[in-house]
């Protein structure tokens, strides 16, 4: 890369259940994001007029999240009038896509300092609210064999031979790691409590994690996609996988990512911008890659994306210290580890979305702070962040401490 894209800070809100009884339901999504912008400003005594653009990912950009919520958040945070904002949507990768977009603009010299991130209040704007031909148009559904993503996750488990016990055990470990990291204070550097305008705390720390879950509780949950599969979606998926006799429906709410509210932001800039503003770089964005794979199974993109990213960076699997794969479903993370030949010991070391939840448009940006904190805590160097994406896409971003 010509000129590096430095990460000057990465912060996030805690996550809470994305339903009406979730702690963050009372907070408008525009305020979730604006709160983080204000925090970024005060932490670094930032002259916001120096920020060129704010890019926020959001997957259901309608209703409370509609009409370019990024620009809304900039204004709600009372940032300088010169700061523009744009909302983007690359499904579950939106937050990381925002980071990559910002990095690319910095590297290209188009901008000097940017904020990238994402926001999703799933309690207010439920998943699917944005509609879309890929999932609602009968022509597309039949022609493209567009099945619900959980069917794809179950198909991955079936093909790879992950049993219900395997995916539940993975989920258990995610809960254990997340609870341990939170309770050890390892998230405290980046997690910014959500407060009301009077300064009262609404949510201090992640409250979605279920540390007291066990295999018995997990095993008692009903598969989420068996009924849907029997309507015909299984048949649709298998028409592309005739070597599979039938889909083993292993995924439940217990071993899939949680529906939560949350937001994240990352401050990214050139070396010069940091010097001008007296900012210390914490890391840099080394390389990023997008790819698409079979849209029917949908969730098999992260492994190939990570390989592409490594290739472009001229690195190998062994050069990476920590791996982070969004736990959309347990089988997605398991397939990722299998594709890359990596161990669970260095993957999702502090748990993932199964335990903490997956606020769709924000998750990708959250991974940046999670990994940066952990690289610093371990005094390690590189981390690869990946997510599976609707339509069969995969995204990977390689970050490095400086």
């Amino acid at each position: 890369m010509a000129s590096a894209a430095y990460i000057y800070d990465a912060i996030r809100t805690p996550r809470s259940r994305g339903k009406a009884n979730g702690t963050l339901h009372e907070v408008k999504p525009v305020q979730l994001a604006a709160g983080l912008l204000r925090e970024m400003q005060s932490r670094h005594d930032l002259d916001t007029s120096r920020v060129g653009d704010v890019v926020l990912g959001c997957v259901s950009p309608v209703g409370d999240q509609g009409s370019d919520i990024a620009k809304g958040a900039v204004q709600a945070a009372h940032w300088d009038e010169a700061v523009s904002g744009v909302q983007i949507d690359r499904f579950c990768a939106s937050g990381l896509e925002a980071v990559n977009t910002a990095a690319a603009k910095i590297v290209a010299g188009q901008e000097d300092l940017m904020v990238a991130g994402g926001v999703e209040s799933m309690s207010r704007v439920p998943m699917g609210s944005a509609g879309g031909a890929m999932y609602l148009d009968p022509d597309m559904i039949i022609d493209q064999r567009a099945v619900p993503q959980g069917i794809g996750a179950d198909l991955i488990a079936t093909i790879d031979g992950y049993s219900r016990e395997d995916v539940d055990a993975f989920a258990m470990e995610s809960q254990r790691r997340a609870a341990h990291a939170r309770d050890s204070g390892w998230f405290d550097k980046s997690v910014v409590p959500v407060r009301d305008e009077g300064g009262l705390t609404i949510l201090e720390r992640d409250d979605f994690i279920k540390p007291d879950t066990d295999m018995q509780k997990l095993g008692a949950l009903n598969p989420s996609f068996a009924a849907m599969g029997s309507y015909g979606f299984d048949e649709m998926a298998l028409s592309k996988y005739p070597e599979v006799a039938r889909i083993n429906h292993v995924h439940t709410p217990g071993n899939s990512s949680g529906i939560v509210d949350g937001s994240a932001t990352v401050l990214i800039g050139s070396e010069q911008a940091g010097k001008d503003l007296g900012l210390e770089p914490r890391g840099s964005i080394v390389q990023a890659a997008m790819i698409s794979t079979d849209p029917v199974i949908m969730l098999a993109g992260p492994g190939p994306a990570a390989k592409k990213c490594l290739n472009k960076a001229g690195l190998t699997v062994d050069d990476i210290d920590l791996w982070e794969i969004n736990e959309a479903f347990a089988s997605v993370a398991m397939r990722y580890m299998k594709d890359l030949g990596i161990d669970h010991e260095i993957t999702n070391v502090n748990g993932g979305s199964i335990a903490m939840g997956h606020p769709l448009g924000a998750t990708g940006a959250m991974l940046v702070s999670t990994m940066l904190d952990e690289l610093e805590r371990r005094n390690a160097k590189r981390a690869m962040l990946s997510l599976c994406i609707g339509g069969g896409m995969g995204i990977s971003t390689l970050i490095e401490r400086v």
């Binding site: 699917g128 509609g131 999932y135 609602l136 148009d137 009968p138 022509d139 559904i141 039949i142 022609d143 064999r145 099945v147 849907m228 309507y231 015909g232 979606f233 048949e235 649709m236 298998l238 028409s239 005739p242 070597e243 599979v244 006799a245 039938r246």
Partner: protein, 713 residues
Amino acid sequence: MAFAYDKDASGIVTVTMDMDGPVNAMNNAFLPLFCDTMDRIEAEDGLTGVIWTSAKETFFAGGDLNMLKSVTPDGVEALFESVEGTKAVMRRMEKLPVPVVAAINGAALGGGYELCLACNYRIAADNPKSKIGLPEVTLGLLPGGGGTVRLTWLLGLEAAMPFLLEGHQVSPAKALTAGLVHEVVAPDQLLDRAKEYILSVQGDISAVTQPWDTTGYKIPGGPSASPKNAPRIAGAAAMLFKKTRGLLPGPARILDIMTEAAGRVDFDTAQRYESRRFASLAPMPSTKNMIETLFFGMNKVNGGASRPKGIPRSKVERLGILGAGMMGQGIAYSAAMAGVPVVLKDMTLEAAERGKAYTEKLLNKRVGKGRMTAEERDAVLALITPTDKAEDIKGCDLIIEAVFERIDVKNAVLAEHEDLLAEDGFWGSNTSTLPITRLAEGSSRPENFVGLHFFSPADKMPLLEIIAGDKTSDETLARAIDFARQIKKTPIIVGDKTGFYTSRTIGTKILEAVQLVAEGQDPVRVDNLSRLTGMPTGMLSLLDEVQLKLIHDIYTTQVGMGLVDPAEEATPEARNMIAELVTDHDRKGRATGKGFYDYTAEGKEIWPGLTVWRKEDAVLPDQDIQDRIIFRAVLETLRCLEEGVLRSVADGNVGSILGIGAPVHTGGYIQFVNTYGLGRFVERCEELTRRYGERFTPSEILMRHAAKQLEFH
């Protein structure tokens, strides 16, 4: 005059449609007539209302299928223009300032009902025989005369689905309940009531405004984007896929048009969209195939095209069935349902009664679902007399023997009962494999001996394969066809060669699938790929159902009888594999829980023992696997035609779809070639021959037709 036009003293115009031909139809003659009539109506002074009715027994029959099946890609534009032209006149009609009433005197199907939907008010004559509905989907079409959009607006997405996606046809009474018509009246009051209605709503603006032209009208159940409907549409798409394997564009387009119509676009835009998707659907192969076979072929076959000429119609007055097993009991049910008295005989009275209990079970289900009254059930049941005494059979004018599939057993039964037939009665042997001529040798009147091959389960399967032995008389064949129609089966007549038509042909595709596995292909993949061609089940699953042991035994018997020569077996590895599975591994079939699959309470899993045959490095392309299976069946069907086993193309097409699971979208195993393209088919056969063996060599009849580019009809 094709449309009689009458204006009465009260200002009501009654248009009585009486087009040339047996029915009123949306053919080339219709649009000018319709247009002229509307011109005249619009020019009327003192008009108070319009009534559309018919001088025929039916109200209106629908589209011109001959025209539709001949549409080429070049003809799409003309078809679109013509559909739009008709719709424009319909639009003028429903926008008249006076009430327009459809007086539905008889069946109103397809285009006929679409015409009714463009009327303000629909009154049907209470004739339980007349049907109302939009059956286009059953022929691979979509209602393109405005019906898809109008019915969606009228009933809402969910309620319209069974009528549009499944083509439900209903009686006037049910049409009333479903909201398809507004009123049902006695046939002789139809026109009076229509006039009375018109006069009663004079000045009422809502009576002359269609729902889709009413400000503030809401489609029942809400728009397609509503939180309830969005997942319902996705679910309907999945269900459609399950049913059609994604191979039928017609129903998929219907669902799509419904989705567009329900709130995505305005009424007129939706109408134009419907016309486009209808016009471009017409030249597609699956459309032509389904019209050709499911309409024209079916009419030919059921209309008795193969029935020997000049023989008076006959009716079976009393049917004897020997053997109350699976086949016998299913035949008994079909006959009794058609009102034929049945004597059902087995070795013991208990066995015969068990056979009758099968009918009772099926009827109780019908009663439970409200499709039959308890009295009707009892009346049907009373027609079946179970017995173990030969003399009870005496005097039956048809005896069907449905005993064990072995010549000596069948001969013994024949010897014991033949004399009991009524004087001019005939004998039917239900066999799927034994030669009729040979069986008839035991008969004292071989001219009255015929093969009646029912399919399992006989109460459900619509096909009857009638086998003519060397000595079977034309009169017997005619009577067999009449009997088939009497019990509402579709009959085809075939020659008495080994395996007749259906068993022989289904055998080739099953054996080809086994051959693929024997050569090392993944059995799960072979099974699924064969099902994905559009066949109802995969070929290995089907073989498990049919029972490997049965196939093995039949083959062994046929070899023993000298009917087949093992040296000429096209797929010897498949034969060997089946033999080995049955004899060495006790894999007899689904009935014993062990075939290609293991069957347990949890479902079925492929038998791990099959890995012995598997060659991981010899993976064939999907297309080759599918073509090998389907081409074998097509080639065998053409051979049957060439050898005279099949007497008509329609018999082959209809027989293959109804009897042996030919994919519906292909129009059957002969029509398949017509739309695949004769030349292209020959080329592909030659390619398969080079790669996989002589059994794919194009037959003479095929080469002849291909050389002349002469389709099979």
